[in-house]
Each structure stands twice: as C-alpha cells, then as structure tokens.
Symmetry: C2
Subunit: 205 residues, 2 copies
Amino acid sequence: MEKNNAIFSCCSSNSITKDIQGARFSLFPMSDNYIDIILSSIKKVNTCNIHSQTDYTSTVYRGTDIHVIDALKAAFIYSYRDKIHMSMQVTFSRGCPGDKAVDYKLCHEPLKVNESDICDIHFPVLVKFSLYPLGKEDYMEDIKSVINDGIEMNVYHGSGHYVSFLKGDVQDIFKYFEKIVLDCSNTIKHYVIEATFLVNLPEEV
Amino acid sequence: MEKNNAIFSCCSSNSITKDIQGARFSLFPMSDNYIDIILSSIKKVNTCNIHSQTDYTSTVYRGTDIHVIDALKAAFIYSYRDKIHMSMQVTFSRGCPGDKAVDYKLCHEPLKVNESDICDIHFPVLVKFSLYPLGKEDYMEDIKSVINDGIEMNVYHGSGHYVSFLKGDVQDIFKYFEKIVLDCSNTIKHYVIEATFLVNLPEEV
C-alpha cells in the first residue's frame, strides 16, 4: 500500500462536513446470545432521518446532532436485557478536517422519530467518558464546562484517571449527552467524545 | 456537588506526570462466562513494574511506556479463549495537564516481565483506533505519521469514518502499538489513543 494515501484521499473537508455529527458505536452484550441481541436491536431503530452503516466492528450513524442521538439512544435501549451485563462504546465526532461529504443525511425536522417509543423506558446506567477538543490550546476549559453540566444535571459521578464517570437513569444520561453534544457543536470546531455505557454490572456501584 | 472541584483538584501537573503512560482498559468477552474470563486473566498479569488499579468499569495501568504495554498485552492474551468473541477497549493517555503524580510506578529496567510467557502465542486480531493529539494545531500530521507506520509494518487495514483499522497477528499488533506509543511520547506533549481490539468475530473479515 502506498504511504499516506488513506489520509490524503479523505482530506476534502468542506462546509457540509462541519454539520455532520457522527456516532460510531459497538454493543458488547456479555452473553452467549450476543449476536441476536446486537442484530435485533440495531434492526429495530428507526434510521429514516440519518445515514446508518454497519461494518465488522461497529455501526456508524451520521446526521444532525439530535437525530443521531435519538437513534443511538434507541439502539442502546433496545439492546438492554434484564440481568445481562452489556457495554456500549461510542465515539461522537464532529468537524474532523479529514471528513468527507459522503454517507450522511442532514434532517432539520425537529421531531425525533424514535423518542415516543423509548421515552418511558427506565434503567440505571453507569458511563465513563472523555471529551477531546482538537486543534486548540485552551481545551481544558471545554472539559471543565461539560463536567459542570454533569454536576448541574445531577449525573456526574466523580472522576478517575483519564475519564469522568456518570451515573443515572438512561433518560437523564441521554439528556446530558444531547446537551453537551449540542453545546460542543456550537463552540468547538473539531471534537471527539469517547463514552462507554454500562448496564447490569455484576457488582453494586 | 460544587462546580469545577473535580477539575481544579486534579490540575497539579508537574514534571513527573509527563513521564507517566496510562492505559485504561476493559475486557468484554461476549460469553455467559465473562466474569471468570476477565478476573482470571487480570490476575495472571505480572504487574510488578507498573501501578495497577481496577474499578467497576475498567483497569488502569500507569508506568513507563514499555512496561504498561507489556502488561496490557499480557492481559489481552490471557483473556483470549478459543471461539469466544471478545473485545478489549483501551485508552492510552500521556501528558494530560490534569494528571496528578499519584498512582504510578516508573520502572526504567528494560526487561519486560511478561514478554517471555506470551511471545509465542499467536492469534489474529482486528483493531479500530484513533490518535488524538491535544493542544496543537498541526495534529493531522501526527495522525498521518502513525498511519504510515501501520502501512510500513503491514498491519494497516484501511480506514472508516473516525477510525483506522488494523489487522494482524497479536504479536505484530502489539509491536505496532509499542512503536507508535513510544514515538508519540517523544513528539507530542499530550496525546490519547483510543483502540478497540476484537478477536473471534462471528463473520470472516
């Protein structure tokens, strides 16, 4: 393979790509039945307002912030099984200079198409996450700001090396991610949020 | 909780913290037997040259680059089970201005204490990963460089939205991560590498 081709071929950033929110996620149900759990939940999500693509490692949603989060929340909620320990690993990304104006759907309708089916489902979630604002020197200020939001919204659950923890009902956790994603999209040119959601941990937290 | 305390209390970066490599990792065996697989493999790792700490969500190793990678490689290899699909999610981090000079062991002996027990074990691994250099404007150059290393070392397996893929024998994959971690530690003040390792995928890749 020729060097650098992979990067050079995707450095055609333009005005559209800065509006595309991406979420690349993987579901990891710690169960012998993991294939059924993953495939059935992914299939159930209404993806009419976003672009969705699944490869061997993960699924990518690309669209406007609120519709990507609506679909991601649905995928996570549909994959929940009573007593089965599961993890969802998500990379939110917006504004990458290497992004291309392909594989996206930018829907500006405010109606979240999955929300009415999932808004009454409740279970506790533990999350570890980090925000990485790229290409700027004062990035610690952005990080402080999202942590303060977590404290205000009553989902912040302390910090450890390299991560902050969140704990709360699934509805509150996704409300928090919708807020910080929308805020970061307004204030940071290129950012990534890495988050791992956990349910049904074998030990009480 | 009072705002900002979490960040302010850990902003005591000093000359020691810039030498501490961190790896926070979680093992996700997609099996009913996940607890035994995780606990038995973590226990088997020789952690005498690093600091190791396990919380509800993950395990953190902190020390010099090569000893952290040696221990991480051992944890991953010991958790491999024939035919069981498993994922390991790792955050490498070095140079965070919020890091504290606690919870670390900086061993400068060159001998990797786990390597002789694991260097003859081989199985195929698929990886998705991203490098995030923080606090600098020319971060795309660093990303190009690690991708070129992957091409040269014959483990690069293409790119997708937000990630690059690697494919190869477990020994070659860890050789690659050792190289890029050492290089990034030399050239980037604060960086994070997020990687997800996958084995025994249900579909042929």
